[in-house]
């Protein structure tokens, strides 16, 4: 299995200045019997927005937690998570002592959880969460709060009102934005967002996405955006990675991954995306269901649902192969995928909805 990931790395994922590198990361429960993250290797380019897509239960949240070495007990994370504060320095996050880890989390890599409503202590004012965080990291509280006010204003919130409110006094969108402000409080280099917009309505999702782009520019932060909502992240991300059954199956620049997707699963996922413009008959749900974390099939984990699957697929795990510069895929038959599975939405613009992502 190690060879698979090594090959991905050698195959070149187009990352020249990685800020975070994940190598052979696996998360196991039950003393190694259950894999909820299976040998994942990828890199995050400094100052990019990486979109990670996958269906529910594909290991996305585990991937997010792994970046902060915050796998909930009794899960066990193995592999390497390398952090490069600058291009010449490398530290292994998994080697950190508890104190170093406490300092690293939130100050270097911070995280926005899914469901902002449950991320705040309901009996504490929002402002107190900011103060607690500053105190825990020995930062100056007045200066930190001043900075917090600035971020909150940038997120179109009234700082005084929000800081002086209890969480339940804010709307879902306000809580989500307050949580984003809290995660930026210590000026982290990397912001990991795990389904940050899942609980919000469509309009609020859209406006938060627009805000995130501004925030990224202003605060110079690298973003990892994890979601099940492919069209949503396609409008935001520079690069995308697709997860299936606790593994990475395809990664590449956004436009290439959407328009030239080479993994049968990615293509099927695109075809199953609801689209208001497409007639209902064109929607193609993917038959079958993804495997449980126990008894993952020996070969390609998608083989049971894949129209291209052959004996080879069932027997051997596909290695990553380069499709084009920076675009890699783990499939034995990726060359045939494009003609075998036709993308139904015609043009990717309908998916992205982003002006610069306009393909011809």
């Amino acid at each position: 299995m190690t060879t698979t990931s090594d090959r991905l790395h050698r195959a070149g994922d187009g990352v020249s200045d990685p800020i975070l590198e994940v190598k052979n990361a696996s998360v196991t429960y039950d003393d190694g019997d259950t894999y909820v993250l299976d040998d994942v290797t990828f890199s995050i380019e400094r100052n990019e927005i990486l979109g990670v897509v996958g269906e529910s239960g594909s290991g996305k949240s585990m991937l997010a937690s792994a970046l902060l070495d915050a796998i909930p007990a009794p899960g066990h994370l193995s592999g390497e998570v390398l952090y490069h504060p600058d291009p010449d320095t490398t530290v292994d996050v998994l080697e950190f002592s508890d104190a170093e880890l406490n300092e690293f989390r939130w100050a270097e890599v911070s995280m926005v959880f899914q469901g902002a409503m449950s991320s705040f202590n309901p009996t504490m004012k929002v402002g107190a969460h900011f103060e607690d965080t500053l105190k825990a990291h020995d930062r100056s509280v007045p200066e930190g709060l001043e900075f917090a006010r600035e971020i909150l204003s940038d997120l179109y919130l009234d700082p005084d009102r929000v800081l002086d409110s209890y969480p339940h006094e804010l709307s879902g969108g306000m809580q989500q934005r307050a949580l984003i402000a809290l995660s930026l409080l210590l000026e982290p280099e990397v912001l990991v967002m795990d389904e940050p917009t899942a609980a919000l309505d469509l309009l609020m999702q859209r406006s938060i996405l627009l805000l995130l782009e501004d925030i990224k520019e202003k605060y110079d932060v690298t973003m990892v955006f994890i979601t099940h909502d492919l069209p949503l992240v396609a409008s935001l991300a520079d690069r995308m990675a697709v997860m299936y059954a606790f593994e990475l199956v395809e990664a590449g620049p956004r436009d290439q991954l959407i328009n030239d997707s080479s993994h049968p699963y990615t293509r099927a996922l695109l075809n199953s995306t609801p689209n208001i413009d497409a007639p209902l008959e064109d929607m193609r749900p993917i038959p079958g269901k993804s495997p449980a974390p126990v008894n993952v099939p020996a070969g390609c984990s998608y083989a049971d649902r894949c129209p291209l699957a052959t004996e080879t697929c069932r027997e051997s795990d596909p290695a990553f192969e380069p499709v084009e510069a920076g675009h890699t895929v783990a499939c034995h038959h990726w060359e045939r995928a494009a003609e075998a599975i036709e993308l139904t939405f015609g043009e990717a613009a309908a998916v992205g909805g982003d002006a610069e992502g306009d393909p011809q």
């Binding site: 989390r105 939130w106 959880f113 449950s118 991320s119 202590n121 009996t123 965080t133 825990a136 990291h137």
Partner: protein
């Protein structure tokens, strides 16, 4: 907001009024009626039959020959002024007997309820942190066992073993017979010595339930995202344990605390009887046995009013300790 307090206060007064009226009616339903015994006593003492009614009236604020509505009004009027008449069996004003008995009962109930909560919360919190450990299983088992034992069984056993067999504690009374009341060392130790067994019986049978409730609440709170987020934000374990977990886990227990206080007050009728501890419950029992209606009504009222006050305080203060309950928005919790 003001509206809410007003409504709660009005409701408390209405409840007390209804309870007082009910006690007036209930007592009159008891066999023998309120004044039969008193009348017999007075006649035996040689009071002329023509003056008996007047004597009853002066003792109990009620004219026995007046129509019922008149008796009711007189009774309510006197009760509102804190005058419950004169005890038939003890020949002292009921208000005075109650005033002497209440501090002892409050002492026992308050101390045992506070102990129940302190130990219950500590045990439950530790169990939650070590969920599934041997300690957790052991304490859970013990909690369920103790919960199933009524306090009076423990009381009788404790009295038999520790007071009669070992002689470590007195078998009756609130303080030693020779001890002068006052803030002296002697008085305090004597009072504690006398109260130890009643408090013990109340506490040991109550801890289990609170520990289990706290354990459940804590486990639920520990599973919340905000605890995990706080951990990622680098907060110290102590800060998370107190401000993020304990506070949210204890909040739902608060109303129960004040209600328990009230219910325990009612339980003293049995507890104080077992330990011959002359508190409120003790006098209520002896009043029942000797058909002492004024004393019965007085103690009954004080216990009920205490419960109403407990609920009232819970109502008013819950909004202060839990910001999510804003006064006036909702009636139910």
């Amino acid at each position: 907001m003001g509206h809410y307090y007003l409504r709660r206060t009005a409701r408390a007064f209405v409840t007390v009024f209804l309870v007082t009226s009910l006690s007036f009616g209930l007592i009159r339903l008891l066999p023998g009626g309120p004044f039969t015994l008193l009348r017999a006593n007075l006649l035996r003492q040689g009071v002329p039959a023509s003056e008996v009614d007047a004597r009853i009236a002066s003792l109990q604020n009620i004219q026995p020959d007046a129509p019922l509505w008149r008796q009711y009004l007189d009774y309510m009027g006197a009760a509102a002024q804190g005058d419950f008449g004169t005890s038939i069996s003890l020949d002292e004003p009921v208000a005075q007997i109650i005033a002497e008995a209440v501090p002892w009962t409050v002492f026992i109930v308050l101390v045992s309820t506070v102990l129940i909560f302190v130990f219950g919360i500590l045990l439950g919190a530790i169990q939650a942190y070590w969920e599934g450990s041997r300690f957790d299983q052991l304490v859970s088992g013990a909690s369920i066992t103790l919960m199933s034992v009524p306090f009076y069984v423990v009381a009788v056993l404790a009295l038999f073993v520790f007071a009669y067999q070992f002689g470590w504690f007195p078998t009756a009374g609130t303080v030693g017979p020779t001890v002068e009341p006052g803030l002296t060392m002697e008085f305090v130790t004597s009072a504690l010595n006398h109260a130890a067994l009643p408090i013990f019986s109340y506490t040991i049978t109550g801890i289990g339930g609170q520990a289990l409730a706290m354990r459940g609440n804590s486990i639920q709170v520990l599973g919340n995202d905000y605890v995990e987020v706080a951990r990622l934000r680098g907060l110290s374990d102590r800060r998370i344990a107190t401000r993020y977990v304990a506070r949210n886990a204890i909040l739902p227990l608060y109303t129960g605390f004040l209600l328990l206080l009230g219910f325990r007050l009612g339980g003293t009728v049995i507890l104080e009887q077992i330990f011959s501890y002359p508190g409120l419950g003790y006098y209520m029992w002896s009043a029942l046995e000797s058909n002492d209606y004024p004393l019965m009504m007085g103690t009954f009222l004080v216990i009920t009013v205490a419960l109403v006050i407990g609920v009232y305080i819970a109502d008013l203060t819950y909004g202060l300790i839990d910001p999510r309950i804003s006064r006036g928005e909702t009636d139910a919790y």
